[in-house]
Subunit: 365 residues, 2 copies
């Protein structure tokens, strides 16, 4: 299950080259057979997110004529979903498909890699990653953990989740038992929310019993499958804590460095293509799922401006605290903030003006 | 300069295989050396758009260890920018990087492939292409021209161009000599605009003399280089005729079919990666260019709602006319409209709500 060592392979190929004059062995040298294992942080039932890793693996096999095989494992088959990066770090697997914000306990800057509450949308995130310092900063930090990464998937803006009761004021958040993780949970905790970690299978009964007041997952297509609508009918937008969550293929640094350069190139392109597959699929299925859920009784709500404003203030406080005590976080955060300051005025002038008109006239266009 | 014929190559490789027992020749069979020519419709000076073809070619070479070489030509080196698809059709070149709307005179449906006025933004376009029928419909149509295609680039929403005078009412459009092409020009012609085809090098003097009243190109990063600001200071948003223009790699169908399957897979991924490179780069450089142009005296304006509404009405009339007389256009257009009806309510609820809050609070986030 490990990468074929290139050195050894070249040695064998050298012998073959001596036996024949065709150019073939030179080609064989550079395209070894490779088998990797990938552990995903997402359950198989979420076919878009788990499917992104499968799609990536298929792209790798197809592009190498079957020579680079990646076997995809669900959480629990090798390690749990929250231990995916650790398994890459210690070499148990070659790579993982995971949101790096799962590891903010070890390294807060990895929250910036996925996307912070109130940071960037999907397109802006991708641009920051490739053209505004994101990739360099995050992969330098990941190097400390014997890892590197490629962006490989984006959810788009996520929904705010299902709530048993309407939430109108900031006061309504006090004591609210909300299944929400990561920095989004830390932001809302400053406003009195009690963030809960509950395994997916346990959320439904917890909402039914009232042990939980609310739960957030991803967006309509995934949320519909979970069936929470039956016990918590208020469906809130937007999930301001994940405006465009980037997922990463986290790769063991040594295994990456051992790959022939053109396998690295194939993998970089396959990750970009799988990234687009995920976002494009969500953008094609979420609208229909939302309509079905509304038909089934979902009451759509948007968080009130006072709740959004108070959350923004809490987020900014949290980022100040984290920046003060963690230089890596500060470096990644400052880079994102500088990018955002450049992009938003331009977005407002043009991209947003186009979207606004299309939304305002929908049904007439 | 043509693809190595796979049949012939296999014949030669079969002889080599008989001479040795190593697996190498089997590998060599499937990874032939290939040299293609690509003609771009964009001048070298537009380093992001022309650069997308160069980036694609580099990705192909890197992913094949240099075996698949694509030489990129600027307009005029082989054929003119508007003849790129024709050159692919007749086999003068293997592929072209071009907006398919250049060929609406031959096939109006190709306007839908790039994106119609008031159709979809960049992300929605990509989703429609891959998951809502776009790719299948357009490539079936391109088959008639001995071509197939991959999406390979997106501009994001384009700007509305430079105007010598402010345009406030629909009446102000009457007689306006505007350098604008394609279906955007046809839409505005219904409101009295006189669309002009002017080569890039001739636009500046035409604006200075008053032979032109206005000219549109792409967005701030490209527009800044053209220097039109000195003779036409009103810079309008949004370019509602190109809300997220998709560029295509148009490929000779025979050459595509002749490629080994894994070269096709490598090319599909490289095109997706180059697509992201272009959009991410624009999203990183347009904001800064806009700020510089404002510093240099650009007066930002947005088209008034009556102008936008009248343009939408004119666009819908045009689409009705085209649908009535062209079945291919109708098929592609109806597919886009069905996708848009699904995606926009969802976009409004969530993605747009996130963007709205981020824009409203910018400077405070």
């Amino acid at each position: 299950m490990t990468t074929m060592k290139r050195r050894n392979f070249l040695k064998g190929a050298g012998l073959a080259a001596a036996a024949t004059s065709v150019a073939a062995p030179a080609i064989a040298q550079s395209s070894p057979e490779v088998r990797w294992r990938l552990t995903s942080s997402f359950p198989k039932s979420l076919d878009t997110i788990f499917g992104t890793a499968q799609t990536f693996a298929k792209y790798m096999a197809d592009a190498t004529d079957g020579k680079f095989q990646i076997q995809v494992f669900a959480p629990g088959e090798i390690v749990g979903g929250l231990q995916a990066m650790d398994a890459v770090e210690n070499g148990s697997v070659e790579c993982a498909h995971t949101p790096t914000y799962y590891y903010i306990g070890r390294e807060p800057a990895l929250g910036v890699a996925t996307g912070l509450p109130f940071s960037l949308n999907a397109r802006q995130s991708h641009s920051w990653w490739h053209f505004a310092g994101g990739k360099e900063i995050i992969n330098e930090i990941l190097g400390k953990y014997n890892c590197t990464s490629l962006v490989c998937g984006n959810s788009g803006a996520q929904m705010g989740g299902f709530f048993r009761k309407e939430i109108n004021t900031v006061d309504d958040l006090k004591g609210l038992k909300f299944r929400i993780g990561g920095l989004g949970g830390q932001v809302l905790a400053k406003l009195g929310v009690v963030p809960q970690q509950v395994a997916p299978g346990d959320v439904y009964p917890a909402l039914e019993r009232g042990t939980l007041d609310a739960a957030e997952f991803v967006g309509p297509y995934d949320d519909e499958k979970l069936g929470f609508l039956k016990v918590a009918k208020y469906y809130y937008a937007p999930g301001f804590w994940e405006g465009g969550a980037m997922l990463h293929l986290v790769i063991n640094k040594q295994k990456w460095d051992d790959l022939p350069k053109h396998y690295q190139a194939i993998m970089s392109n396959a990750a970009e293509a799988a990234n687009n597959w995920m976002l494009a699929k969500y953008d094609a299925v979420n609208g229909q799922a939302l309509r079905r859920m509304v038909g089934a009784g979902a009451e759509l709500r948007t968080f009130s401006q006072p709740i959004m404003e108070a959350s923004l203030k809490a987020a900014n406080e949290l980022y100040e605290e984290l920046s003060a005590k963690n230089a890596n976080f500060k470096k990644a955060y400052d880079s994102m903030v500088a990018y955002r300051a450049d992009v938003l005025p331009w977005w407002q002038l043009n991209e947003y003006a186009f979207d606004t008109f299309m939304i305002r006239t929908r049904g007439r266009a």
